[in-house]
């Protein structure tokens, strides 16, 4: 697991049923591209987050393949429908097999 990986997600605390909300996510990650060389001229191996998913109560919102051209500390913004109260689940998949997860609840009100 890459060290010190930390997600940061913005989801409103409440919404009306059927509302559209904007979700913003950031996660701290080097996103080592595999294109850089170290001081001895050796290629630094690629090490990135290669996939991100967002689901709400088990139903998919977005499923995104990330490549080495995504900037360090990846940022993703998209819109979701909130059909009912529940939980957004966010998952980032690392090249090294690590999985980083966080969740945010939303109430109807």
């Amino acid at each position: 697991m890459a060290s010190g990986v930390k997600p940061r997600v913005k989801v409103p605390k409440t919404a009306a049923a059927g509302d559209t909300i904007t979700i913003k996510t950031l996660i701290s990650h080097k996103m080592e591209s595999g294109q850089r060389k170290d001081d001895d001229g050796n290629i630094i191996p690629r090490s990135i987050i290669n996939r991100f998913t967002c689901d709400f109560n088990g139903e998919n919102v977005v499923d995104i393949v990330l490549e080495a051209a995504i900037s360090t500390n990846p940022y993703l913004e998209f819109e979701a429908i909130v059909p009912e109260a529940g939980e957004f689940k966010f998952t980032w998949y690392d090249d090294d097999g690590s999985i980083y997860e966080t969740a945010k609840s939303i109430a109807i009100g």
Binding site: F56, A69, S71, L76, A80
Partner: protein, 138 residues
């Protein structure tokens, strides 16, 4: 990157290459597109890509893709060493077929979005981003 003399020369050389070939489209771009479309024709239509005309820094360039009916959107940076950037798939609870992210661009180039629409057709849009080289230390 430490600013050593060698790196400075390398960066300069990189800038020249980019300036000389601002719109190069490598064969692999076509390959990636063909893989995504399965060889289907790519038209224009329900797809928009928004990117700055001039990026302050090629390390972090904000882009947005948007479509009314896309089920999937592929983003390519045609001038990068590897052109793939991201593929967005929209699920049942996606409120719009739009997403934003921040990307790396190796130099001035076209950023391309290709959408697979819900009728199975493919459409394409592109945006030219000029990448500047910074002030002190690049």
């Amino acid at each position: 990157m430490e600013l050593t003399r060698r790196n400075a020369i390398l960066m300069g050389a990189g800038a020249l290459v980019v300036a000389g070939l601002p719109m190069r489209a490598s064969a692999s771009v076509d390959d990636v597109i063909a893989q995504f479309t399965g060889g289907a024709e790519v038209g224009t239509g329900d797809i928009t890509i928004t990117a700055p005309e001039i990026a302050e820094n090629g390390n972090t360039v904000p882009i947005e893709v948007s479509s009314g009916t896309a089920v999937e959107i592929l983003v390519l940076a045609t001038g990068n060493p590897t052109p793939n950037v991201a593929t967005f798939k929209f699920g049942k609870l996606a409120a719009s077929r739009a997403a934003s992210t921040r990307i790396r661009l190796a130099g001035t180039q076209d950023v391309v979005a290709i959408a697979k629409l819900d009728d199975g057709t493919f459409v394409k849009a592109s945006s030219t981003v000029k990448v500047t080289i910074g002030g002190c230390g690049g």
